[in-house]
């Protein structure tokens, strides 16, 4: 079991190295598919083991004892997120293969995509702060390349903002790592909780704030979100789907670790206020937009707000709600971006002014959009309703009525802007240039449609399986809040 922990990182990395040698597109495509599906298989085996035994699986690379080795830790949360990440990247790969876009034909697309996957997996599994920083660098560097792969002026313009902002985020993170090392003499997650607790309050709060800023930029929380709606829409559809689904969620995952493991329960009021502001600002931004990709990008921010709000409430129930929200949100958001990618490929634009009457041309596409869109807005019985319900209930239980009120209003406004996309793109007259009566959008884009259907099916499955999944999220939250067990497992004592 122990060697399995490293495989979701190693398989994509080795595949990327081999791909750089061949440059043959067909070989690269096959290798990508094999690497991602085998990583997914490994991740599922790991998840089953962690879930059934209840243990935390720890791998110490290099054979060094205790905190000297590079530790990889798979607890309940990390293992389930690796499975979700691998599944989503695999589906998006299928989408990209069917898309026939110019960027996928570049001989660098597949190696970089593999590096991105490896970085995401490593970020979830990292057992020390510096390793986490390295994982961030791998996934960020890959995302820079994917974002600017075509090198068009629009991509370069928005890519510049994205790169500069994320470079600053990395610098803040590595500064925090350096200062934490100076203050405690360790970067290992097993030793940090104890040693951080011994520090004077001022130093501890300073270090905590540095980490919150670094991960807050990555998670795109208020007031550090402004780079996101500018940069994601210019990326190729397949890349922006992965970014939207997974990259910000890596930031949220790190925030969860900071708030539960490193600084348990500290500054939770600040986190909660940030969460409430993020929800509200994100959805207000979304309402004012006219472009589908930008509306969806602002909704990423708004949804991040719910997770951060849940994290700020604290306690097992609220953390469980956050974990469930995280698991539900990744496939929902990715599938919305994939639907948008299909529309953009068909119409050549993502502006709501120029797309119309899609429901008449392709009812299946309309359903594929409607399910995740309603889920995002929190319609029962879809997964988004259950996730929002869990967060709201946790808020009620701890008397955060203001936050709960904002959450409910925001979910109404989410519905309004989803309805805006629906009315603008799916209803209305079929544009004269497009053939009527032909259900042609999906017929010409079969593998893209299949990939999107798989993800939508996954979101429906999450709704159907909500009971056991929520139980799992609760167990994951209880395991996270039990810092002592985590520490002794990682230390190996």
């Amino acid at each position: 079991m122990i060697t399995l922990v490293a495989l979701p990182i190693l398989i994509p990395l080795i595949a990327a190295a081999v791909m750089l040698l061949t440059r043959n597109l067909i070989v690269q495509r096959c290798l990508s598919f094999v690497a991602l599906s085998s990583s997914l298989a490994v991740a599922v085996v790991l998840l089953v083991d962690v879930w059934s035994s209840g243990n935390i699986v720890v791998a110490r690379l290099g054979g060094w004892p205790g905190s000297f080795a590079i530790t990889l830790v798979a607890d309940r949360l990390a293992s389930v997120l690796v499975v979700v990440a691998m599944a989503v990247t695999l589906v998006v790969l299928l989408f990209a293969l069917g898309q026939q876009a110019s960027d996928e034909h570049s001989s660098y697309y597949h190696p970089v995509y593999m590096a991105l996957t490896a970085g995401i997996a490593q970020a979830f599994l990292a057992g020390d702060l510096f390793n986490l920083f390295v994982a961030f660098e791998i996934l960020l560097m890959a995302s820079y390349v994917l974002l600017t792969l075509e090198g068009t002026s629009e991509q370069i313009r928005s890519g510049t903002t994205y790169v500069v902002l994320n470079v600053i985020e990395s610098l803040v993170l590595v500064t925090a790592v350096g200062l934490i090392f100076a203050a405690t003499g360790t970067v290992n997650f097993a030793e940090l909780p104890e040693r951080l607790a011994e520090l004077p309050v001022g130093v501890r709060t300073g270090l905590h704030l540095l980490l919150l800023v670094a991960f807050g930029i990555k998670a795109a929380v208020f007031p550090l979100f402004f780079w996101l709606p500018d940069s994601y829409p210019t990326a190729p559809s397949s890349a922006s789907a992965v970014f939207a689904g997974l990259l910000t969620k890596v930031g949220v995952y790190c925030l969860i670790r900071v708030q539960t493991l490193l600084f348990p329960g500290e500054l939770s009021d600040l986190v909660m206020i940030v969460g409430i502001a993020t929800m509200a600002i994100g959805v207000i931004g979304a309402i004012s937009q006219q472009d589908m990709k930008r509306i969806l990008s602002f909704h990423i921010i708004s949804q991040i707000g719910y997770m951060v709000f849940g994290l700020g409430i604290g306690g097992a129930a609220a953390i469980a709600a956050t974990v469930f929200y995280l698991i539900h949100h990744i496939p929902v958001k990715t599938s919305l971006f994939l639907v948008e990618g299909i529309i953009e490929r068909d119409s050549g634009t993502s502006s709501l002014d120029k797309v119309s009457g899609l429901a008449r041309r392709s009812p299946i596409l309309a359903v594929l959009f409607l399910l995740p869109a309603l889920s995002l807005a929190g319609f029962p019985p879809l997964s988004g309703f259950l996730a929002k319900f869990a967060v709201v209930r946790a808020g009620f239980d701890s008397q955060q009525y203001f936050g709960v009120g904002v959450a409910l209003v925001v979910s109404m406004l989410t519905l309004v802007s989803m309805a805006k996309i629906w009315v603008g793109a799916f209803w209305g007259e079929v544009l004269p240039a497009r053939p009527t009566g032909d259900v042609g959008i999906l017929r010409h884009q079969r593998s893209m449609a299949a990939a999107t259907m798989m993800l939508v099916a996954l979101t429906v499955t999450i709704a159907v399986m909500a009971g056991p999944l929520y139980e799992f999220a609760t167990e994951a939250a209880i395991q996270m809040l039990d810092v002592a067990t985590y520490v002794s497992a990682v230390r190996g004592s």
Partner: protein, 131 residues
């Protein structure tokens, strides 16, 4: 941490932060380089006595090898980042003739639409403002 390495860290952070304020991507890249090196010096001096070698088996006092290993990794990452930023600046220059970081175009469109609505006092016409 000796006083001089602290001073060096402060100078590098100051220079880096100042350069990051600029709109020119070349200056931002230089700022990132300065800040990155400031962080590296910070981590090195966080270890222990900077003047000692981190080699096991040598007599006398040794310094903690971990920060040196961390900094080696950070230097490689910083180098790659800087190269990418320079490439981006060059590409920006070949496309637009300058290397400035520009504003969000769509954002300005939305702002202009709001202004126009406020002025005319009627419903916004989306068709007017599409680029």
């Amino acid at each position: 941490m000796s006083v001089w390495s602290l001073v060096l860290v402060c100078v590098l952070f100051g220079v880096g932060a100042y350069l990051l304020m600029d709109r020119s991507l070349t200056r931002i890249a230089l700022g990132v380089g300065a800040l990155g090196n400031g962080v590296n010096v910070l981590i090195i001096s966080a270890g222990s006595d900077v003047n000692e070698a981190p080699i096991i088996g040598r007599d006398g006092t040794l310094t903690d090898p971990l920060p040196q290993a961390l900094v080696l990794t950070a230097i490689v990452i910083g180098f790659a980042l800087l190269t990418f930023l320079m490439t981006l600046a060059w590409r920006n220059w070949t496309i637009s003739g300058n290397d400035e970081v520009e504003d969000d175009v769509e954002d300005r469109l939305v702002a202009r639409r709001a202004e126009r609505t406020a002025k005319s006092g009627d419903q916004p016409h989306h068709e007017d403002v599409t680029p």
